[in-house]
Amino acid sequence: MIFDQKPVMARVAGKTMHNPYFTTLFFDFAINFHPGQFIMVWIPGVDEKPYTISFHEKDRFGITIEAKGIFSRRAATLTPGDMVGIRGPFGNGFDIIASPHAAVVAGGCGMAPLAPLVERLDPNLFFVHGARTKDFILYPRRFAAKRHFTTDDGSLGHRGFVTDLLAAEIKRRMDQAQPQFDMVYACGPEVMMHAVFTLCEVNGIPCQVSLERYMRCGFGVCGACVCSDRVVCTDGPVFHSDQLQKMTDFNRTALLKSGQPVALSEYVSWRCQ
């Protein structure tokens, strides 16, 4: 059983290379997990980073890695039998509603934390997934629920933004006097989540988004991941609309490793190194 103290050493039990960009590593361990929570993954001698759990069964779970930085490129080269340290799960996770009037909006690898959520929501949800191109669509055949795609280049689905489709669906429900969304869930680039949040605010729809910040402890003491007065690792990573309204750092400011607050764009380019 994985727990939230000293890392438990786990051997990679399976590996799926979805495409050149995304890899999922599986571990045959039980973990008490709620969709949206994350674990700290330690590659001895390299570093330790937070990853959401993207697959979860009773005695098996998986994390999906987008190979783009020093750590993630290394993590993507791990093969079955290799050992990593895992501690967690940490964070709050999503509040899951029973209503069929839910929307899930995923951007890029933001699909990973949303995947176990989608599998728990009513299958009649409205589900949008955007990516750079068709090749960057994660888990193209995983879900029973119908998924609408958007791409930056139009290589799959709508050419444009996820918010184009979400806005159209909100309007359609309004125009046709159909029940409006009871909740919108989003994860992706922060600028995208902010656009979803803003759209929901305008229409009086509650939403939940999952934020990302540089992390150290994972359990709310070191302060590395603060966003305004919220501690992302323990108060989040999932935040509701009423919290986001007060978080002026949302889509604006994040701390570098030194603790220096910088514009989100600067943070994002540093994080992708």
């Binding site: 939230d4 103290q5 000293k6 890392p7 050493m9 700290m40 330690w42 001895p44 001698g45 570093d47 330790e48 980073k49 050992m83 340290g85 501690r87 150290r216 402890c217 994972g218 359990f219 709310g220 003491v221 070191c222 302060g223 590395a224 603060v226 305004s228 007065d229 501690v231 323990t234 750092d249 701390l255 570098l256 490793k257 030194s258 603790g259 220096q260 607050p261």
Partner: protein
Amino acid sequence: MISFLGKQLKNPLVLASGILGNSCDILTRVHDAGCGLVTMKSIGPAPRDGHKNPTVIDLGYGMINAVGLPSPGYAHMDAEWQALEDRDFPLNASIYGGSVEEFSRVARFVSARHPDFIEINISCPNSDCHGMLFGVDEKAAHAVTAAVKKVIEVPLIAKLTPAAPDIGRIARACEDAGADAICAVNTAGPGMVIDIETKMPVLAFKKGGLSGPMIKPIAIRCVYDIFRAVSIPIIGVGGITTGEDAVEMFMAGATLVGMGSAVRYRGIQVFDLVNRELNNWLAAHETTREAVIGAAHHPAGRTTHDPVSIAKDLSSQYRKNTP
């Protein structure tokens, strides 16, 4: 309200340095959650990233950490200083340096940003060239304290390490050099945790400071020793997570009580909870915080209330502290 070095605090609880202290927003929240005095994460002379992860691991009975003193550097915090200028709570600014000159440079700059107190971190075990070297040597502790005291206009608190062979003597050296209060203790050790599957130390820095419940007896002993060595007030820190722990720390000689790792075990609301537990304990025992400060220094099992014999006991002690 509690008067401490000329400032008014709403209660005797202090946020220890290094915990959640890196922005005005989060410091405000900790104050609102019932903390009487919040301490900023130690501010250094230059931008510093700290160590790679893993940096902080919970062991259940406490934590081990080697974060490595990350800091934007004192000169790169304009927005934070600006925000803190308008605060409505008392602020303790922790600083560090690699030399007496660096300590002075940071201290002079920080003092001009008007924190209520400046705390010199001469006790961090998690860097090869900062902090702890000053805290285990009387002459070095005296030199850095005297140098900082000269360039600041706010009260000076010296934060000590339990690694000092005789912490009372270090505290006395700081007092002699002009420190207005002592904060004790920083993390203990350093310790090490090795993963036996990979045969590797878990922390990237290998060694790390110990905190939380496992070090409480060390912290209590240190504060007890310091109380007998100095006449300036003491902020007692180390393993406090409950009101009864706070009472114990007061009895050892602390005027205020700090908490850090307790946030891991009871959340940010730990300040409100401990404050309530402390007041309940004091009420149930029909006493006050002032009355229990240093109470453990009275002769064992004292039963007399005769003022003459108490005075005699007290004067026979090496030093007596006035709360």
